[in-house]
Structures are given as C-alpha cells and as structure tokens.
Symmetry: C2
Subunit: 343 residues, 2 copies
DNA sequence: GTTAGCACTCTAAAGTCGTGAGTGCTATTC
DNA sequence: GAATAGCACTCACGACTTTAGAGTGCTAAC
C-alpha cells in the first residue's frame, strides 16, 4: 500500500484535500504553505507535492494551476480521518426533532429522515426502507375479512411482520384459507421469503397446478402475499446538488439524475452497504454509479424493531465534507434505529 | 380580448410559435416568410410582427434578433389549436402496453404511467394518486385481527374503499370496536372524510374526552383510521428536462427542482385541475409554480372504479410541443381510467 | 534538506474587430 | 392604401489577440 508517507507528506496531503473540499479550486503550493501553519516554504511544499503527484494522489488540471486530490487521496484522507467533527448540539436537536415528526407510518418517517439528512449535510439524503424478502420465512396466515378480501400476515424468522391486503377475483372460504396457510407453512420452512416466492412461481407453472384447480387457486393468492414490494427509496434534496460548482453544467448533472432514475442501480449498490455494520464510505468510482460522475456516498445501516435492515446515507460530490457528514450519517442511523425499535 | 386578429396575423403568429417550439431560437421575419408558404415578403411579415409585438404577443430579446412568443401568444395558440395531432398507433401501443405492465398495486400502475408519459412526451411525467379524503364519509368498520392489530375499513359515499391496518398500544375487544364503529357511523354522516377527521380531533381536545377514558380510546383509533395518507405523487423523467436548451444553465434548473421538492405547491396546483373535466393547460405563470421558471403543465383527470379522482399530466417548458402532448395526455388519462375501472 | 530566485507555462479575463442576421423606415409599385 | 423593395442601422456572437497572474520546475545557495 501507499501508506509509505512521511508525517509531513500526510499533513500536506490532508491540507490540500481540506482546502480543495472547502473551495473546489485547485490548490497551489503557496496556499498550502500559508494556511498550513507548519513553517515551510512554498518551494519545499512544491517538492512534496511533486512526490504526491507521482504516487497518484494528486493531479493538476494543467501546468499552471494548483493540484487536485485524486480518489486515492480522498480514500487515504477518509481512512486516516481521526478527528471527526462531533455532531453539534444543534444538529442533534434537529435530527431528533425531525425524527419525532413521525410521518404517516414507516414511509413517512423515512422520507422525513431523508429530508433531514439532506438539510444537515447540504447534499442529497437517501434512505432505503428495510427489506423483508431476504429474511427467512417462518409463518404465514390468511384471514378472510370480507367478500373477496383476504388479509395475509407474513412472519419472518427475525420476527418481522408484514401485512398485506389481497383483493381476489372470486371468493375463498375460511377453511380453504387455513388449509392454504398450513400447506405453505409446512412446505416452505427454512427458505427466505424470496425463495418462497420463486418456489411458488415454479409450482404455478408445473403440470400439477394445471389440473388441480384448488392448488392453482391457493398458489395464486400465496404468490400475491409474498410478492416483493418494490424497494422503497427516498431521495431528497436533489436540488441541493446544483449548489456544487462541479455540477453546474448540464451534461454532468444529467448523468447523475439519470443514474438515479434507474433506481435499480442504486438498490444494487446499496444492498452491498447493508451487509456490513457501521458507516460505510464509497468514493467516486467505488460507487460504481457512473464512472465519470464523481459522486461519493456515505451510508449506514439502521434496524427496525423486527430486526429488518434498512439503509440511509448521503450522496454528494467526491469533494464532500466527509468529516462533518460522516458523524451526521452515523448519528442519524442510530437515532432512526432507536426510534424504530421503540415503536 | 385580443382575438381582434386578422386571419393573416393569426397564421403568422402560429407559424412563429411553431417555429420557436421546434427550434428554441428567436424567429425572424424572413424565416417566417420562407417557411410559411404564403407568398408574402419578409417586409410585410415584419409589419405584422411589429403589430403583434405591440399587442404583447411577441418580444425580442434584443434589437437584432428574431422574436419570441409571449405566454399570451402560447395561450392564444393553444386555444385556437384545431388540428391536434392524433395519437399515433405506435404511441397507443406503448401506452396500452405500459398500462398492462401492472405494477404492484395502484402505486405501481401510477408510477409506470408517469414514466410512460415522460417517455412519450420527452418531458416530465406526473401523476397524482386519487385522493380519498375529499369524498363524503359513509361507513367505517373496525375488525380485530390480532392482538393489538385492528383493520379499519372506510367506505366513501362514492363506494371507494380504504383499508388501513392499525397497530395499537393496548388491546381492544371486538365488542368495543363494534361500538366504536356504530358511534362514528351515526355521528359523522354527511361529512367529508376530511371533516370527519377534524371533528374527531376536536373531540379529542374537548373536556369530555379528558374524563371519559373509553371515549378517548375510541377517538384515538378512529383518528388513525381516517388520517390522510400523504398525497402520493409520481414524477418521472426529471433528467429529460435537461435536454431542453432553455434549462441548460444551473440557476433555472435549480428553481424548477426546488419547486418540485415542495410537493405541497404541486398538490395545490393540481387539485385545481381535478375540479374540471378534460385536458387542462397551464402556461408559464398560470401554473403559479415559480414566476420565472417558464414551465407549462398539461393535465387531465382520471377516475378509478370507486369514482375517486386522480390527476396525470406532463410538465415541460413553456415552449412545449402542445399539439402532440395534449392528445397523449388525453389518451393516457382515458386509458388509465379504463384500466382502473376494469380492475 | 531547505530555501530563494528566476525563467517558463498556461489559463482566464479583457479587449478588438468583422460578420451577418434582423430590424425599422422610406420610397416605390400595383 | 396595402404590399414590397431597398437601405442604413443595430447588436449579439465568434474569432482573434493581449495581458495579468498564478503556479510550476529547476538551479544555485544556505
């Protein structure tokens, strides 16, 4: 690795990164020498900067401009970030008060959270609702609550509940529903809810279902009960990104927005984040969002009372205020977890 | 009114509007004379254009550029649009096939619709889910479906149904729930669902509820049952608007996005549209979205099987291809209505 | 190893200028 | 009197040049 950096080199790199984060402009040797109280002349700094460039940590847009940190530099910077700015009291207050503004149901809370993240960070806030379908299936129950209306209650092994109201084409009797439940409970033990659904779809296509009308009816309802709801994603503060000078031209912006419209991409990216605990940071191409867009992503998991896992975070330019955003994301995730487990 | 226009003036105005819609550039007198097969010299056209400018139908960005239609001109143009381009077979096919892609539930369909609108029009598609709370309350019923779980079924006078699952802090008995239902059904007759909610909130605050614990319990659940779900809005194709040359600079774009983020504004605007039947068109400041943003809105209502009303449409620049978008919106609204009433 | 000095490079901003599209006015034609 | 041809005038836009200044790399001195 490239941790082969002298103390001084690291300090200078840090100074450059921070300067660039603050100003969005290439930073020159004399600027570093001045700002950075270390009594060094610009010439010395220049030498060091030349080294750093050789190591792939800096680039210059052209000969007579200052230098810009590369992704590698951000990575190094973030990894060595020791002094994380604490979440200020005011910010804590805001996060908590926003959390309290319990919207309507889970979606409401999460949307509000997304907005809070955006407001505090000044970048985009993003929240993904806890997904249920990756959990292991434990139990399902169908309740007839009216003509052609069935309530399905699905329980995962982690104890998470999901209720779904199903409207059917024809009527199902209570006993039939109980039988259906028993059938599934017996047969699907140990599979994840996703797998259960696949299994059902398979059976629906099988020969047996063609002839056994009763079975076909049962499968039809069951499939609806375990069907995945589209992952809910809440992105707020999209306008804020326009404040960033690097996105002020239409071409780049368009790229970003388009990337977001295919939410599939995001989901894929973010499901990665769900696996690990704590705050996760993806810089530039590490996000695999769009090679050129130059966005970074800071995320963390949160959990609900039923142990399902969701994801929240902030999307901003690579040149993002990591030191302040990281603790915000961290704290918010904790608060949301707490809030959701209380309920 | 300004319908005091000679045939020729109107033809020229129309030519200018269409040219400008096509090219986004100021159109000059000679361009009109050429394009517009009418055998007129540019000089004559110039005279007419000078008149139109005086009447507030055209402006010139500067002395030696062509002229641009004002909002007033668009209005006139749209109002006098006789020859609406028909929806092509291909477009019909797309609309229908998208409709068939029934997503998960109502939200799924509407989201898909929004996307379709965006794709066909090349502007932004927008759909607002049918709102329920403006309907007149007819009947409510609470069903106990488990410990601390109650299903509320709400029926409006138009026959629309809304089911809501309520999780409570403590347990409610079946008889208590029936009594609660009867109480509300008797007392709230004739009010809209919105009013019912207000009424309940009022009673909750009243002295009586302070002392009558049973009543307080009842009101608490009832309130949840009739609470409005945040209006669901689906906006798709936000990236597309970046294709429009007039929005290529960051400032204007930001305005637009910000306007959309306060969905409240949109809802307000769009609830106006719901009142009237057929396609509605709002041009520029008529949208009251943001004075300067220069966006237009073409909308139409759709209805569900239960007679609740939703809204769909297209948002684009004032310089929008009205003649092709209007029929698309119209046709889509019809199709969605049809689809939703079949189900 | 550090620093001062200096020549060199290259961009961004400011100025210059010609071009051409488009206008408004007037004299002329039908 | 409406339509047109002609013409002088205006003004943004693009191409080009110039200038200023920020920043670099190198070398020689400390």
């Amino acid at each position: 690795m490239d941790i082969e950096l002298s103390l001084r080199s690291r300090q200078i790199l840090e100074a450059i990164v921070e300067d660039y984060i603050a100003t969005a402009e290439p930073v020159g040797s004399s600027a570093v020498a001045r700002r950075h109280a270390l009594t060094l002349s610009s010439a010395t700094v220049r030498n060091v900067m030349a080294n750093l460039e050789e190591m792939g940590l800096l680039t210059s847009p052209h000969t007579s401009a200052g230098r810009i940190p590369t992704e590698k530099a951000y990575r190094l910077y973030v990894d060595s970030l020791v002094a994380l700015r604490q979440v200020s009291r005011e910010e804590k207050r805001q996060i908590i008060s926003h959390c309290r503004k319990v919207g309507v149901g889970l979606s409401g809370i999460l949307k509000e959270t997304s907005r809070t993240l955006s407001q505090l960070s000044n970048y985009m806030g993003i929240v993904i609702a806890p997904s249920f379908t990756a959990d292991v299936f434990r139990h399902i129950e169908f309740i007839r609550i009216g003509q052609r209306k069935i309530l399905a209650i699905l329980v995962s092994s982690k104890g998470a509940l999901q209720n779904r109201l199903i409207e059917t084409d024809d009527d199902y009797g209570s006993e039939e529903l109980i039988r259906m439940g028993n059938y599934l409970n017996e047969k699907m033990q140990g599979l994840t809810i996703n797998q259960v659904r696949e299994q059902i779809l398979e059976e629906m296509a099988s020969e047996k279902a063609q002839y056994d009308k009763l079975l076909a009816r049962a499968l039809k309802i069951s499939e609806q009960a375990v069907r995945a709801e589209g992952e809910e994603i809440f992105i707020e503060g999209q306008a804020r990104i326009l404040d960033q000078p690097e996105f002020s031209d239409a071409g780049r912006m368009k790229e970003i927005y388009q990337a977001f419209e295919q939410k599939g991409l995001l989901v894929q990216l973010l499901s990665r984040c769900m696996k690990a605990d704590g705050v996760q940071i993806y810089i530039g191409t590490e996000t695999s969002l769009s090679q050129s867009a130059g966005v970074s992503l800071i995320t963390s998991r949160f959990v609900t009372s039923s142990n399902t896992v969701g994801m929240l975070g902030v999307i901003g330019p690579t040149r993002m205020g990591y030191s302040s955003v990281i603790p915000i994301v961290d704290y918010t995730a904790r608060m949301v977890s707490k809030l959701l487990s209380e309920v």
